[in-house]
């Protein structure tokens, strides 16, 4: 029992041996299975190495990353790889082997070669891209026409993911009040399970593809290391060949994952993806509103055109009428002028003729007067000479008359006395005869007069037609005239209904 040492002494010995033999830094290829970051800022990761084929752990060690180193490494990761250091990544780490009497063996990680991590990811990514390119699938999903309105959405995410709630929140609270219908198809969003579950959900959505316009894959946060699943060939192919447009919002900042590349559209964050979908909807609505505006403008333009046409026509009409009126007026003026000229000429001509006629008449009259005067003078002369002769002759005759008278008057007186006596006898006889003849004639005349008196005719039953107390005949009577029929005793009023020619 004399040969023993204390645990502390043993630990010290081990410590000194290790410090002696492992006093260099080593670049170790390892996988950080679990980071185990503490509030103090120090991390105590579980470091492992797995068999590439069997995936079994073939080495395991405790790691320590002091707060200072941790901050430095994280900053580098974010700068170079666009994400933080996370569980489950393979890294090339700069380590020192440490032994502590209390805490035991551990590997202190001082630095990490990001180029190696980058290279690993990039290798996988490039390989996938190359394969898809060879199959002509890189742009396959992009070739599908994007729906006018992405309103029915199949979401591949997980309910607890911030990305999911961000995305759904943006859609639900859009200022345009658009309504979206979505269904969540839950899937693991990072690590090895991601490929399997996302592919599975895509298959399910494919069966119901008529009920959706688009598929979105959203996840929140997470670094590019966790995103390596999205460079997986089978997942990228499933997305590229999907019959509906697939949109991604899986959160990254540097290199696109292959899934992002083959997706119809990829947004940096789920929130951005939500806005993209709203923008697409707004785009459609704006097209509708533009069409509306266009129609309104076209109608206004057409209306204006018609108004203009009408105005032009009215103007032309007015102008034509005015010019025609002017033409008529000037024609009229011309006609009046011509007429006046002609009339004046005629009047002048006529007055000249008239003066000539008057002159002719005057001359003829004067000559006729002179002729008559001469005749009268001649008559006067001949009368004077002739009357003397006649007086002489008559004087001679008168001288003879008393002789003849004496002789003839006696016999003539006797004869006439005899005749007078005869006539004296005849007068009373003739007188009587004549008187009775005259009486008879008078009676006859009286009868005729009586028979033809109007009273007599009326008495016989005839009537007289009078209008306005004037006798009318069939020549001056008209239809619808009111007339008076005057009989012997009565007078009647009648209206001419019809006049017909016999």
């Amino acid at each position: 029992m004399e040969n023993f040492i204390t645990l502390k002494e043993l630990a010290k010995q081990i410590e000194s041996i290790i410090n002696l033999n492992f006093n260099n830094t080593y670049w170790v290829l390892l996988e950080i299975q679990k980071l185990n970051l503490y509030r103090t800022g120090h991390a105590y990761p579980e470091l492992v190495e797995k068999d590439e084929k069997t995936n079994k752990i073939v080495a395991q060690m405790r790691g320590i990353i002091w707060a200072n180193d941790y901050l430095y490494i994280q900053r580098k990761f974010i700068q170079v790889l666009g994400s933080e250091m996370k569980d489950g990544i393979r890294v090339l780490a700069k380590c020192i082997v440490n032994f502590h009497p209390v805490y035991g063996l551990s590997l202190r990680i001082m630095d990490i070669d990001t180029t190696y991590s980058q290279g690993l990811l990039e290798q996988e990514r490039l390989l996938t891209i190359k394969k898809l390119q060879q199959q002509g699938l890189l742009d396959a999903n992009k070739q599908i026409p994007f729906p006018l309105v992405p309103q029915r959405i199949a979401i591949i995410s997980i309910e607890t993911s911030k990305g999911f709630s961000d995305f759904v929140g943006v859609l639900a609270n859009n200022e345009h009040c658009y309504s979206y219908k979505y269904t969540l198809f839950p899937a693991v969003l990072q690590g090895e399970k991601a490929v399997e579950t996302i592919t599975e959900q895509l298959k399910i959505i494919n069966l119901k593809k008529d009920f959706y316009d688009i598929v979105v894959i959203v996840r929140g946060g997470g670094g590019e290391i966790g995103l390596s699943a999205y460079n997986d060939y089978s997942l990228a192919k499933a997305i590229a060949t999907f019959p509906l447009p697939v949109l991604t919002g899986i959160g990254h900042s540097t290199n696109l994952t292959v899934c992002d590349m083959v997706a119809h559209y990829s947004a940096i964050t789920p929130t951005d993806l939500g806005y993209y979908i709203i923008d697409k909807t707004l785009e459609f609505e704006n097209m509708l509103l533009n069409i509306g505006d266009k129609l309104i403008n076209t109608i206004k333009q057409k209306q204006n055109n018609y108004k203009e046409k009408i105005n032009n026509t009215r103007f032309l009409l007015l102008r034509n009428i005015t010019s025609q009126l002017y033409a008529y007026q000037s024609n009229l003026d011309k006609t009046i002028n011509t007429f006046t000229q002609l009339t004046n000429a005629k009047i002048n001509k006529s007055s000249i003729t008239l003066i000539q006629i008057i002159n002719t008449i005057k001359y003829q009259f004067i000559s006729a007067l002179e002729k008559t005067n001469n005749l009268l003078k001649n008559y006067n002369f001949s009368l004077k000479t002739n009357s003397k002769n006649i007086i002489n002759i008559e004087n001679c005759k008168l001288d003879n008359i008393p002789l003849i008278l004496r002789h003839k008057s006696k016999s003539h007186l006797n004869y006439n006395l005899l005749r007078l006596k005869q006539i004296n006898k005849l007068i009373p006889i003739n007188l009587k005869q004549n008187l009775s003849d005259i009486k008879i004639s008078l009676n006859k005349a009286q009868q005729i007069i009586d028979l033809s008196s109007p009273n007599h005719i009326l008495k016989m039953g005839y009537v007289m037609l009078k209008k306005d107390n004037i006798i009318v005949t069939e020549n001056n009577i008209n239809k619808n005239d009111t007339i008076v029929l005057e009989g012997y005793k009565n007078q009647m009023e009648a209206e001419i209904i019809n006049i017909e020619k016999k």
């Binding site: 729906p147 009040c177 509708l288 069409i291």
Partner: protein, 76 residues
């Protein structure tokens, strides 16, 4: 009136194609001012249909109609 009576399309694509056709016809200018009115009315109807559908007003209305119909059936 329901969608069938108004002869409304079943999808945005149908509605939009018809709208574009109307716009083309009108812009080409071979429509007289008399025929313009029914075309524009149809366009307005289509635009309203799409905008309602964007906000799901249509669905809401249909729900209400369905509710009313159900209520009527209950009464009978």
């Amino acid at each position: 009136m329901n969608n069938e009576e108004l002869n409304l399309p079943t999808s945005y694509e149908q509605a939009f194609n018809e709208l574009q056709q109307i716009v083309t016809e009108i812009e080409r200018g071979d429509i007289t001012i008399d025929l313009l009115l029914p075309k524009v009315q149809r366009a307005a109807q289509l635009i309203k249909f799409c905008r309602d559908k964007l906000r799901n007003t249509e669905d809401e209305v249909n729900k209400i109609i369905k509710q009313l119909e159900d209520d009527n059936c209950d009464d009978m």
